[in-house]
């Protein structure tokens, strides 16, 4: 009875199956979907938790870092796992939350060498990375492979989320043409992060992935949703496709992923204790 759902699945997902936009058909779409979370830090933690809870069928998680004590103030899925690889720790969390989800944990960096092949295998990406070269690399791989992605970024009390949909609206490079000069933006290690901030931004990114799979609602394509936790305000900035974008315009400068385009400058990355 009740289609192909087990009684346990009917109970687990009952509160979202009831939603008119989800139903049994939507739940089946979620169970058949594949989402890649790049970075299992603060943004990744909350995104991973809610994507797994909703029953995204295959969750790829890529992170090369180890869990450190200073992560636990905001990276809520890694409790009890200090010293363990974040990818493995996240995998354990998902398995204990929802056995419907197949987790593929990659304990490696998202790199120019693996980017396109990685992205190709998934329906939607969550950018939970913490540095500009990786933001651009994720964007470029998604542009070439024509895949959607929700990007997020946080610092101190502020953050934003935006979503890029292939051939529709701006890409990340249209919005952020080039990374700021080295040293202009302090690292999270220097500036600090209010712990709930990645939770809020990461869950916005997860909801973008879920709605994309369900094919419902409005997404953040062409919109930057900005949040300030100190003022407790949200505001929106609109962004348009850049006619001279170096990757998604009609005459792009970037036509393939070359490692030299994604080199980290020394101050752009937080070092051993990444902030996101």
């Amino acid at each position: 009875m009740s289609g192909s759902f087990t009684d346990e699945q009917i109970r687990r997902y009952s509160r979202q199956i009831i939603l008119p936009e989800v139903g049994g058909k939507g739940q089946k779409k979620l169970l058949a979907s594949r989402v890649l979370v790049i970075g299992a830090g603060g943004l990744g933690s909350s995104a991973i938790a809610y994507l797994a809870a909703a029953g995204v069928g295959t969750l790829g998680i890529i992170d090369s870092d180890m869990v450190e004590l200073s992560n636990l103030q905001r990276q809520i899925i890694h409790g009890g796992n200090i010293g363990l690889a974040k990818a493995k720790s996240a995998e354990n969390f998902v398995r204990s939350l929802n056995s419907d989800v197949e987790v593929i944990a990659y304990q490696e960096r998202f790199s120019p060498e693996n980017a396109r092949a990685m992205v190709r295998n998934y329906d939607f990406m969550i950018d939970g990375s913490d540095n500009f070269p990786t933001h651009y690399l994720i964007n470029d791989a998604c542009v070439f492979e024509e895949k959607p992605c929700s990007h997020g970024s946080i610092l101190r009390y502020e953050g934003y989320a935006t979503t890029t949909i292939p051939k529709k609206g701006p890409c990340y490079r249209c919005i952020f043409k080039r990374s700021p000069p080295s040293g202009l933006i302090p690292s999270c290690q220097e500036a600090g992060v209010f712990g709930v901030l990645p939770g809020i931004i990461g869950t916005i990114q997860a909801s973008e992935a879920l709605k994309f799979v369900l094919g419902t609602g409005q997404n953040l394509a062409g919109r930057l949703l900005c949040f300030n936790a100190l003022d407790m305000t949200f505001f929106e900035a609109s962004a348009e496709k850049r006619p001279d974008c170096i990757i998604c315009s009609e005459q792009p400068e970037i036509i393939s992923i070359e490692p030299e385009n994604y080199l980290e400058r020394t101050r752009e990355v937080c070092g051993y204790d990444r902030g996101t």
């Binding site: 009875m1 009740s2 289609g3 759902f5 009917i10 109970r11 009952s14 509160r15 199956i17 009831i18 008119p20 139903g23 049994g24 058909k25």
Partner: protein, 74 residues
């Protein structure tokens, strides 16, 4: 053709979740007969079906503590 769904011993919200999943498998115009053993659940399922646009053709107590809803899929 009339489908049947026995939801006696089932509780809210699963009464409606199972009804909704059954309705999704049916074609527009098909009818479903649902059996329930709780008056509140009967009212809730009936109300939820209406709010999703379906037509309640019949709602009655068929024996002591058992209610029947006949609904036509929109």
């Amino acid at each position: 053709m009339t489908e049947e769904l026995d939801l006696r011993c089932e509780v809210c919200p699963y009464t409606f979740v199972k009804t909704k999943l059954k309705m999704e498998e049916m074609a527009a115009g098909e009818e479903l007969t649902i059996l329930l053993d709780d008056s509140a659940a009967t009212a809730n399922v009936s109300r939820s079906l209406k709010s999703e646009g379906h037509e309640i053709l019949d709602l009655k107590s068929v024996s002591c503590g058992v209610w029947q809803i006949v609904v036509k899929k929109a």
